[in-house]
């Protein structure tokens, strides 16, 4: 019996805080740690893709498959680093970089027309035809001054998204 609510030491918490550029307060880290342990049903110290999908609200997200590629097998530090993009303390540039990484599935630092098309396919499923998607995308690409075979780099993303009123914040519940 007794108070076993946090098994993390100050060192642990500070290490994790450093790893995520102080995106979370100490209390938030403790909360996230409890959540991590809850999701890590097998108790292996990492969360598998299956364990993430056992959260129905996550599983129904159209981007869940894509995000799983980034999420599968994360340990606690990586888990917190992933979520850091959603902290209110994280700078806009880092949030945009996160979005860029979601698009850049092969991690080569370039987002091609096809990459954007793939994400759009995830988001619209069978409710738009492939031709419609291509047409829409061609249209907005050209309007923004890009060609079909031009690829976007991070700075393009920053330019495009920085004034778009982007809001990407998730509050960590503290109990």
């Amino acid at each position: 019996m007794g108070n076993t609510s946090s098994m993390l030491t100050q060192y642990d918490i500070e290490e994790v805080q450093e790893h995520c550029n102080n995106a979370f307060s100490q209390q938030e880290i403790v909360s996230l740690y409890h959540r991590f342990c809850q999701l890590d049903r097998s108790g292996g110290g990492f969360i598998s893709g299956d364990e993430f999908l056992s959260v129905p609200e996550f599983a129904v997200n159209p981007l869940s498959e894509r995000l799983l590629r980034m999420l599968d097998g994360l340990n606690f530090k990586e888990f917190v680093a992933f979520l850091a993009a959603f902290s209110s303390r994280t700078k806009m540039e880092q949030k945009i970089e996160f979005i860029f990484k979601v698009y850049d599935s092969d991690g080569n630092g370039k987002v091609t027309f096809d990459d954007v098309l793939n994400v759009m396919r995830d988001l619209t499923g069978s409710f738009m035809s492939e031709q419609q998607r291509q047409k829409v995308l061609m249209h907005v690409f050209e309007e923004a001054g890009y060609e079909k075979d031009s690829s976007l780099v991070l700075s393009d993303f920053t330019k495009i998204l920085s004034n778009s009123g982007l809001k990407m914040e998730v509050e960590v519940p503290i109990d």
Binding site: A59, P62, L123, H139, E169
Partner: protein
């Protein structure tokens, strides 16, 4: 014991099975709604709403909360209280527990000595036999309740035997059934269990008219649906009890009610059960512990405290669908027992959500794009 049936034979009705999930879920995943001007590249690249939703679900979600066992508040971390707590442990494990095991053992012996001759020697369709068996099951349940010093307060009229009514209750643990059963025998719809519980189901609970099934067998559902219909017609049968959540929830939330119990065309009597966690958490986390361990946990605690409310019978209103009816009953129970409602199907513990939900989000997004293209 997760119990429930899903009479509507097929499993394809997921759509209608989810009453109003959109009311609960965040639907603002479509940022395009906001600015109805022409579509720009940045609107397509900005996938932050979907990402935020995903991250939000990872950080916290209402479904997992329903099945979280809540550890007791630590109160003993104190030099003065700690010896007291130790004394408590000695009493609970050294005196109470053996005494309770003895009570249970004596109860079982008496029960079997009376039950076996009655069950095997008396003729099958004998009212007296039914009555005796009914009383014996009630007695055994009282013994169970006594074995964890159940302090149960019953509010409202005691259920009588009569046709054309079903009782529905929220579900926290298999002990719900025992607590309700000690007051008046119910025939319950339940999940088939392995081990000694399965043995009791098969040999004893059948005599009070219980119906069991296997959650994962679609074929069972039809059989159960038919049995239920026959059951409620007969005035000699024990009242029917259904736990429409189909699974144990931690007594802070209610998950979706399966609609089966609400389309029988008879009176539905809600029963609300609220446990007081002062001594022990009565939630049976069936994924983490066996029922035996759960019982042992209850038997080593000081007491199980709970309130049971028998609420006013409700009828299907004209023009109301069985799903709306189920939601209305869920409201009544949730308000009475102080539970929060979540839109999830409890069976998601065992399976993945239907792709329909994802498709709905996709459709909304696609529609917003197409609409804005036209307006341009």
């Amino acid at each position: 014991m997760a119990m429930m049936e899903e009479p509507s034979s097929t499993m394809t009705e997921i759509d209608s099975d989810h009453p109003n999930i959109e009311e609960y879920l965040h639907t603002e995943s479509i940022n395009a709604e906001r600015c109805e001007e022409s579509l720009r590249l940045r609107d397509l690249l900005n996938i932050s709403p979907s990402l935020t939703e995903a991250a939000g679900a990872i950080v916290d979600d209402s479904f997992t909360r329903c099945f979280k066992s809540n550890p007791p508040e630590p109160w003993n971390w104190n030099v003065y209280l700690f010896p007291l707590w130790c004394l408590g442990v000695v009493i609970r494990y050294g005196i109470l527990f053996p005494a309770r095991v003895a009570v249970l053992a004596v109860g079982w012996m008496v029960f079997f000595m009376a039950f076996i001759p009655v069950h095997f020697l008396m003729s099958d369709h004998n009212n007296l036999k039914q009555k005796i068996e009914r009383k014996l099951v009630e007695m055994m349940c009282s013994v169970f309740v006594a074995s964890w010093t159940g302090v149960v307060k019953y509010h409202g009229p005691r259920p009588s035997m009569r046709p054309q009514q079903v009782f529905v209750a929220n579900h926290t643990s298999m002990i719900d059934f025992i607590i309700l059963e000690q007051m008046s025998a119910f025939a319950v719809i339940m999940q088939k269990h392995p081990g000694w519980v399965g043995f009791l189901q098969k040999n004893i609970l059948e005599s009070v008219g219980c119906i069991w099934f296997n959650r994962t067998e679609a074929k069972d559902r039809e059989i159960v649906a038919r049995k239920i219909r026959n059951h409620i017609q007969d005035s000699d049968n024990n009242p029917l009890l259904i736990f429409p959540e189909g699974t144990c929830v931690n007594n802070h939330y209610t998950v979706m009610f399966k609609k089966g119990a609400f389309e029988l065309g008879c009176a539905v009597c809600p029963v609300a059960i609220k446990y007081n966690k002062i001594f022990v958490d009565a939630f049976w986390n069936s994924k983490k512990q066996s029922f035996t361990t759960h019982l042992a946990q209850l038997m080593t605690s000081w007491a199980v405290v709970c309130d049971v409310w028998y609420l006013e019978p409700q009828y299907l209103k004209s023009g109301e669908s069985s799903i709306d009816f189920a939601e209305r009953i869920r409201d009544i129970i949730s308000v009475r027992a102080g539970l929060k409602k979540v839109p999830w199907d409890g069976y998601l513990k065992y399976s993945r959500p239907s792709p329909k939900h994802t498709e709905r989000k996709q459709q909304a997004f696609a529609d917003s794009i197409l609409r804005r293209l036209k307006e341009k």
